[in-house]
């Protein structure tokens, strides 16, 4: 079975339409969405409508949660004072723009989805806000996958797609307890994978193209897809709808709008 996994659409309806067309052309059997349907981009309601109308299983992203719960970011959400200022502007704009039924839908989204040996989350199994960066410590990365009881963990949030294999992991655990021997217990973990789907609507790889992944459940083959789309339409809509013009400039260059995690050792406290 061929799965398409998309993430981080961020109100970029043009990018979503292009990706859905590409998924159709690739003949995927099922689409999963890892959240962040809204935020920064000019069409949050339209994106949510599209996802709902296609009944795409979706988990909640950090931006979706913020629109439901209000801003309560850990320091990892923003790399700078400037980014924080811009993130808040985008949040306030989205908060005003979003329809009540869309907000209600975002509130119903689960934090994770499971399918056989696959697990789907936005950031990490711990939180929608935690970044699983490709350079994250191997033990911590493995712990995140093991906590889901899955073999393959799909995530987004970093906006840069990657595949990370955690092979031949040997774990040694010592439990200190008066009732038990404190001899270390050895575990051997089977091959685990983290697959990051990148971003449909806010790519961060130096080009404006949208990214997503295809996953074949029979062969475990992963294909990272990069899809060109008419980003100038989104840029014009950003300007027309009164969002900061710098968002359009950055989108056209494949630069993040504001958020970006740099520290792979940071544990999100959200």
């Amino acid at each position: 079975m061929k799965l398409a996994v998309i993430s981080c659409i961020h109100g970029n309806y043009e990018a979503l339409k292009a990706v859905l067309s590409d998924i159709e052309a690739q003949k995927a059997d099922q689409i999963y969405c890892l959240g962040d349907l809204v935020g920064y981009g000019p069409y949050p309601n339209e994106v949510v409508n599209q996802i709902r109308s296609l009944e795409i299983p979706t988990c909640q992203g950090c931006w979706d949660e913020d629109i439901v719960e209000g801003l309560n970011a850990c320091e990892c959400s923003y790399p700078s004072q400037l980014a924080e200022h811009r993130g808040k502007l985008a949040h306030e704009w989205t908060n005003k723009e979003i329809r009540p039924d869309v907000r209600e839908y975002l509130a119903t989204l689960p934090l994770s989805l499971k399918r056989d040996n696959l697990c789907f989350v936005h950031g990490s199994p711990n939180s929608q806000h935690e970044y699983l960066l490709p350079s994250m410590d191997g033990f911590a990365a493995l712990e995140r996958v093991l906590s889901t009881d899955a073999d393959v963990l799909f995530c987004g949030h970093t906006h840069v797609p990657y595949v990370r294999e955690l092979a031949d992991a040997k774990l040694s655990v010592t439990v200190k307890s008066p009732a038990r021997s404190d001899a270390p217990q050895q575990f051997q973990a089977t091959l685990k994978r983290i697959i990051n789907a990148g971003s449909v609507g806010e790519p961060r790889h130096g080009r404006p193209n949208a990214t997503y992944v295809l996953y074949d459940t029979d062969t475990a083959q992963v294909t990272l897809r990069e899809v060109a789309y008419n980003y100038t339409k989104t840029c014009l809509a950003i300007l027309e709808k009164g969002l900061p013009s710098i968002f359009a400039w950055r989108l056209a260059r494949g630069m993040e709008f504001a958020e970006r995690a740099d520290d792979p050792t940071h544990v999100c406290e959200r």
């Binding site: 790399p79 700078s80 004072q81 400037l82 980014a83 200022h85 710098i246 950055r250 260059r253």
Partner: protein, 270 residues
């Protein structure tokens, strides 16, 4: 009879006029004077003062008096920005050596006609073209920033945007910025040359309140969105309470460093 050397240096933005002059200012064996007409709040003024404290910086209103009463063996350097009219009677009347620094690709120009000596710029990528495609001359935008302290990652980001053309076409950017660890940096960008150059200025660390020494930004370019640039810069500046918090941390670190240094210093044996 008293004697002095006067050198006038002209050329398009980014060719290295100040750098060329600096090689002579580094040697304090003779009384040195520097003048950059119509640029009293220019970054070069402050940088020359910070890097070569033995050089007398002449302001426009002092120029006539100082030039009329120069000490014996004085060396005077007058830097002429691209906006200066080289044919003005005041400049024509000045008795001195005329140096033009021009891009190697430029065969003839008003600088060639004016100069006694033409020096090819080491910055080979600089075009020397002043006018934009529409024939407009570039604008110089200066913003004094004295007292402002920048959030370092925000400053990085805004400089990337500025030099990347997010707020108009920037052909030249020079700035002196204060950072929360008390250091001041000189920042230099020339369109056509790779990257943005950061140079730490060898100044005492300012860790008590807002720095009371010059910092500022100077941009040369076309279609500059001055209001938006000013807003973006302001967003990168630290508020009083945040600055205080940073300075307390750096003061503590400085104290610890001094304590370690004192403990490891060899004792004096009586």
């Amino acid at each position: 009879m008293q004697s002095f050397d006067l050198t006038l240096v002209a050329g398009p933005p980014g060719v290295g006029k100040t750098t060329w002059i600096s090689q002579f200012l580094a040697n304090p064996s003779r009384p040195l004077f520097y003048l950059c007409p119509c640029a009293q709040d220019a970054v070069d003024f402050a940088r020359i003062g910070y890097c070569f404290p033995w050089v007398s910086i002449i302001s426009d209103d002092q120029a006539a008096d100082v030039l009329a009463d120069l000490p014996d063996q004085a060396q005077v350097f007058i830097e002429l920005g691209f906006h200066m009219d080289l044919g003005s009677p005041l400049l024509v009347a000045l008795p001195g050596r005329r140096i033009a620094i021009v891009p190697p690709s430029l065969d003839s120009s008003e600088w060639h006609n004016w100069a006694d000596e033409v020096i090819p710029s080491p910055n080979q990528q600089v075009s020397g073209e002043l006018a934009s495609a529409s024939g407009k001359l570039p604008t110089i935008w200066r913003s004094p920033l004295t007292g402002q302290v920048f959030d370092p990652p925000s400053l990085d980001e805004v400089l990337i945007e500025l030099t990347g053309g997010a707020y108009g076409q920037v052909t030249r950017l020079k700035g002196i910025f204060e950072l929360p660890d008390g250091q001041a940096f000189y920042v230099d960008f020339v369109e056509g040359l790779p990257g943005i150059e950061y140079t730490e200025l060898k100044l005492p660390r300012w860790l008590e309140g807002r720095p009371d020494r010059f910092s500022g930004l100077e941009i040369v370019g076309h279609n500059l969105e001055q209001k938006t640039i000013a807003q973006a810069l302001l967003t990168c500046c630290l508020a009083d309470d945040v600055l205080l918090q940073y300075q307390r941390q750096y003061q503590q670190l400085q104290l610890e460093d001094e304590t370690v240094a004192a403990e490891t210093e060899p004792g004096v044996v009586a």
